[in-house]
């Protein structure tokens, strides 16, 4: 097995045992990036050659020097007989929405194309403290606003390693693709409405949105502060557990970070799932779109293969001893997206106020005669259209003078969505679930340009994931098969508050029972030709 195919768990074990040098791991990751990634995304990056079209383009910035220095430190620590950390020598990519001192932190926007933060985000700091090697910053939708990566100001945007004509999903598309293409073992992403899980599903990797507050948001450039969650992307559940272990826990610099003790995710991971109650809900069998002429919702069934994979996965889990509970009502699922439109846009518009050309980042190069012009031109030139759309929508929804207060109304809907989960998980309720099993996405990855521009359709690709953000509960996506086109299908396990341990354990059990399935032998397109051991 090549070095880059190793799991994070294995890398850390071997590095700590002295069987492997962290520097060699870093070099192997850098070589893999050179081999599969192609041109890094850049501002004004235009059309690319046919050859480049076949590349992954996950990275905006490769931090070779930083990774090698960190690797040296790990190797020295091991040589001195010190504990080199949970993630000793593990190559990691960071979604370029996290501030990391010593890097440019762009948010994939022209607005921050020159921004060098003088501090490092808490989750990144904790990864480094546990011996991780930061290989670079990976692409995303501009300011995380999208579900395909196409809205990045840094082009070429990331492609799906399984089929480079397709999108990797988003907004953590660069994260998911870099893990799938074995450029890194782990990636740090963010999930506001599905931004870790949707790209993880599209790219055939594991993605975990932790409970709100489980991982500090300090250093994450905010999209929607009441929904944003940093979390891991990995190639298996053990690695996700390992990475969460390294990052989770209270942060005195984030008031909303939870003071609750962090579970030992690794020690319970291998336990079986006998007797665990796993629910299926008919409310996740379809997507509900509004007709924008009439406003009425109409129902569209999810992709057939996704549906089949979900039910087949449930059978596999039943075989492993879990109890499948059908027909769990989650009646407010259909309102997840409209409520998200309100809450996320209102918060985003406010969070983006600070980008005004005064203190940092881009400032218009045109001659301006007054302050207001400086603001308007800077923001007009610095933000892409999807960002402007979110700002304007947020302005509309929070402006004074409506009959209804949209934001408060949406927060009440949010309370109802939360109630669906509370009922499903209630220990003495009708369903008493340990986890809810759903599709992660209604469809597999779509082609580039197929959806981009239609902001409504793009947003609705988060319908299966957004409810857990509203409710604050943890949710895990794991690969569960391929569709007829050979594109990955993900299934989602949603748990009760702070029960990351349970959903990881169920995910791990699923990996065990599906170990020998044929789809697990198939490799992403960009890795074809490489032989999997």
């Amino acid at each position: 097995m090549s070095l880059t195919s190793l799991s994070a768990f294995e890398v850390a074990r071997k590095v700590k045992a002295g069987e492997l040098k962290a520097v060699d791991v870093a070099e192997a990751a850098l070589a893999q990036i050179r081999a599969v990634d192609g041109l890094p995304g850049s501002l004004d990056g235009g059309a690319v050659s046919a050859d480049e079209e076949k590349k992954v383009h996950a990275f905006i910035q490769v931090t070779e020097k930083m990774a090698l220095e960190q690797a040296e430190k790990v190797d020295q620590a091991v040589a001195r007989g010190e504990d080199a950390g949970l993630l000793a020598g593990v190559p990691i990519s960071i979604k370029d929405i996290f501030c990391v001192e010593g890097t440019t932190t762009t948010a994939a926007s022209r607005m921050l194309s020159n921004f060098r933060p003088p501090y490092t985000a808490t989750p990144v700091r904790r990864l480094i403290d546990q011996g991780a090697l930061i290989l670079g910053k990976v692409n995303l939708d501009e300011f995380t606003f999208g579900s395909s990566n196409e809205s990045s100001a840094y082009q070429p945007a990331t492609n799906n390693p399984w089929n480079t004509d397709h999108v990797p999903g988003g907004s953590s598309g660069g994260s998911a693709a870099s893990v799938a293409a074995e450029e890194v073992a782990l990636s740090l992403g963010t999930d506001t409405g599905g931004s870790i899980r949707q790209p993880a599903a599209f790219c055939g990797v594991v993605g975990l949105k932790p409970t709100y507050g489980r991982v500090s948001r300090l250093g994450l450039i905010a999209f929607s502060s009441s929904l944003d969650c940093p979390g891991p992307l990995s190639r298996n559940t053990r690695d996700a557990a390992l990475m969460l272990q390294a990052m989770a826990g209270v942060d005195p610099k984030d008031s909303t970070s939870s003071t609750r003790a962090v579970d030992d995710y690794l020690s319970t991971l291998g336990q079986d799932v006998k007797g665990l109650r796993i629910g299926l809900s008919p409310d996740y069998d379809a997507v509900y779109y509004p007709n924008f002429e009439t406003g009425e919702l109409h129902k569209e069934a999810i992709q057939k293969e996704v549906h089949e994979t979900l039910y087949r996965s449930a059978e596999l889990l039943a075989k492993a001893g879990a109890e499948i509970v059908e027909n769990v009502p989650m009646p407010n699922t259909a309102y997840g997206i409209p409520a998200y439109f309100v809450i996320s846009r209102v918060e985003a518009a406010s969070n983006l106020h600070r980008f005004d050309g005064v203190k940092y980042g881009y400032r218009t190069e045109s001659a301006v005669s007054n302050l207001s012009e400086l603001y308007r031109l800077t923001r007009a030139e610095g933000f892409g259209p999807q960002v402007k759309l979110r700002i304007l929508m947020g302005m509309y929804l929070s402006a004074a003078g409506h009959d209804a207060d949209y934001y408060t109304h949406a927060q009440k809907v949010r309370a109802l969505i939360r109630q669906d989960f509370v009922r499903a998980f209630e220990p003495d309720g009708d369903h008493r679930l340990d986890a809810l099993l759903t599709p992660t996405t209604a469809t597999t990855s779509f082609k580039r340009k197929a959806v981009f521009g239609n902001s409504l359709l793009m947003q609705y690709s988060d319908q299966m994931t957004v409810s857990s953000n509203h409710a604050g509960v943890p949710a895990l996506t794991i690969p569960a098969g391929l569709d007829e086109a050979g594109l990955p299908i993900g299934i989602q396990l949603i748990g009760n508050d702070f029960r990351e341990d349970l959903i990881l354990r169920i995910g791990h059990a699923f990996e065990q029972v599906s170990r020998d399935e044929a789809w697990r032998k198939v490799r992403p397109q960009v890795l074809a030709g490489e032989v999997k051991a």
């Binding site: 501030c99 933060p117 501090y119 929607s224 008031s255 518009a349 983006l352 106020h353 600070r354 004074a400």
Partner: protein, 478 residues
């Protein structure tokens, strides 16, 4: 001309004297610091940073709310007020909108004619201060040092009726802030800033007419003058058939002039909403009880008690309760003194207050403590020293830190009350003045005063005058 009255509401911003800023660990006070040296990623609004609330700002805010007789909110919340301005690095100010730390309340003003006037408080909330900007050759320069300094914004109901009343409100609010120790309330340093809402109406009317807002009335004099000017302008305007418009005006304290800042039609839409980065501020019943318990006796209460308990005049009690430390000093001195409390008051209002002025100190900063003052007065009462020595002792104690009795002893400042010593001095005086002795003995007893004076001269004023008189009579009548 009709009879008009002026209707005024004041909006004050009070800088709390916490050690650090409200949402980050930079120090709150930057008075001595160069621009942009007391800043961090949080208060300068860098992307990805988050606010963490300073517990002391909540405590001081709640204490002020309690002192204003406001209801201390057990669950207050922070909101974002969104607008663009270069001194506001996040593009929004973190403030409290509909669930502030204090609701309602009032401040009772004592007026010059001895009456009391109640000014109701509309609301009182915590917020962060913005930075400072200045213009230099057409460029605006921004300093973030002040960003994130904790403020209480306090808004009165339109209960004030003249510039003088508004000035009194500020004077007495300033006294209260210092009294309870939540703010230095130094207006020159911007610890207490004020905007005034002014309208006029016919006396007797209850309507609230269109008001103008005057910004930056940041001294007591400015408040008096700016409101006076604006009331005059509005009356003249209305009398000449015009209509008051909802302007925002700026007070230029250097030129004593009002100028138009903007008309209200362009007022921004702040799009307030809850700040998701901060959790609600909870104060338990016990915590609120603790804050109420920590609330000291307030100036007006203490003034009234001084009148009844110590028999002081209203005037004296007023002066002595101007500052909390002065009144604490007074009470401690009275406690250590066996004579009339009024005597201590006299000393404090004259000699001690002169000394405080000269030294630029407050009473609690004196080396000369209240016990030392009581001891000095007591020594005069007991005839151990004379009044002049007592006065000179004030300075000596302050400078040396020694006890008054020690200084008297060491410097020989005590009165000569010892009979033998005095007798010797008197004999010498009598020996030098045979004619006067003869005259006295012949019946001119009015010479006694002259003899006392001679003894005093001989002893450098240290002879106990009472004892001297007794001995003189005894020796002359022998």
């Amino acid at each position: 001309m009709k009879d008009y009255e002026v209707v005024i509401g004041l909006e004050t911003h009070i800088q709390l004297n916490t050690r650090t800023k409200i949402f980050c660990s930079c120090k709150a006070d930057s008075w001595e610091d160069e621009a942009n040296t007391n800043i961090c990623p949080v208060c300068s609004g860098l992307p990805g940073t988050l606010p963490v609330l300073n517990a002391e700002a909540v405590q001081k805010g709640a204490l002020l709310a309690a002192a204003m007789h406001a209801e201390v909110n057990p669950l207050s919340r922070f909101d974002r007020k969104n607008y663009f301005y270069p001194d506001l690095p996040k593009g929004y100010q973190i403030t409290q909108f509909d669930e502030p730390i204090g609701k309602g309340g009032y401040l009772d003003l004592k007026m010059a004619d001895g009456t009391k006037k109640r000014v109701r408080i509309h609301k009182l909330h915590l917020e962060e201060d913005a930075g400072k900007t200045k213009i230099e050759h057409g460029t605006r320069l921004v300093d973030f040092n002040r960003c994130g300094v904790p403020l209480i914004e306090m808004v009165t109901e339109p209960d004030l009726r003249s510039g003088e009343e508004a000035a009194q409100y500020l004077i007495q609010l300033r006294q209260l802030l210092r009294w309870i120790g939540v703010s230095e309330a130094d207006m020159e340093r911007g610890h207490l800033r004020c905007d005034a809402n002014v309208s006029i109406r016919e006396r007797g009317s209850q309507v609230l007419n269109t008001k103008t807002e005057i910004k930056n009335v940041n001294s007591i004099d400015s408040v008096r003058q700016a409101i006076g000017e604006e009331a005059k302008r509005q009356i003249e305007l209305v009398e000449s058939g015009g209509k008051v418009e909802s302007y925002t005006l700026d007070w230029d304290a250097d030129r004593n002039k009002l100028s138009l800042m903007r008309s209200k039609e362009t007022e921004a839409d702040y799009r307030y909403f809850r700040d998701p980065d901060l959790l609600p501020v909870k104060l338990s019943r016990e915590e609120i009880a603790g804050i109420m318990a920590a609330l000291p006796e307030l100036p007006l209460e203490r003034q009234a008690r001084f009148v009844t308990e110590y028999g002081l005049s209203e005037y004296d009690a007023d002066i002595l309760t101007n500052e909390r430390s002065l009144s604490d000093y007074y009470e401690a001195a009275v406690g250590a003194y066996t004579g009339e409390p009024k005597a201590v008051a006299n000393w404090m209002m004259n000699d001690l207050s002169r000394m405080l002025n000269d030294l630029g100190k407050t009473a609690d900063q004196l080396v000369l403590g209240p016990k030392a003052l009581a001891e000095i007065i007591q020594m005069i009462d007991d005839g151990k020293i004379n009044a002049a020595t007592g006065k000179s002792l004030l300075k000596k104690v302050e400078e040396s830190g020694s006890r008054p009795a020690e200084i008297v002893e060491k410097e020989g400042l005590g009165l000569i009350a010892d009979s033998d010593a005095l007798r010797a001095q008197i004999e010498a005086v009598l020996a030098d003045a045979p004619d006067e002795v003869a005259n006295f003995k012949a019946g001119k007893e009015s010479l006694l005063g002259w003899f006392v004076g001679q003894v005093m001269r001989r002893t450098g004023g240290k002879a106990d005058p009472k004892r001297t008189r007794e001995l003189l009579l005894e020796m002359l009548r022998k």
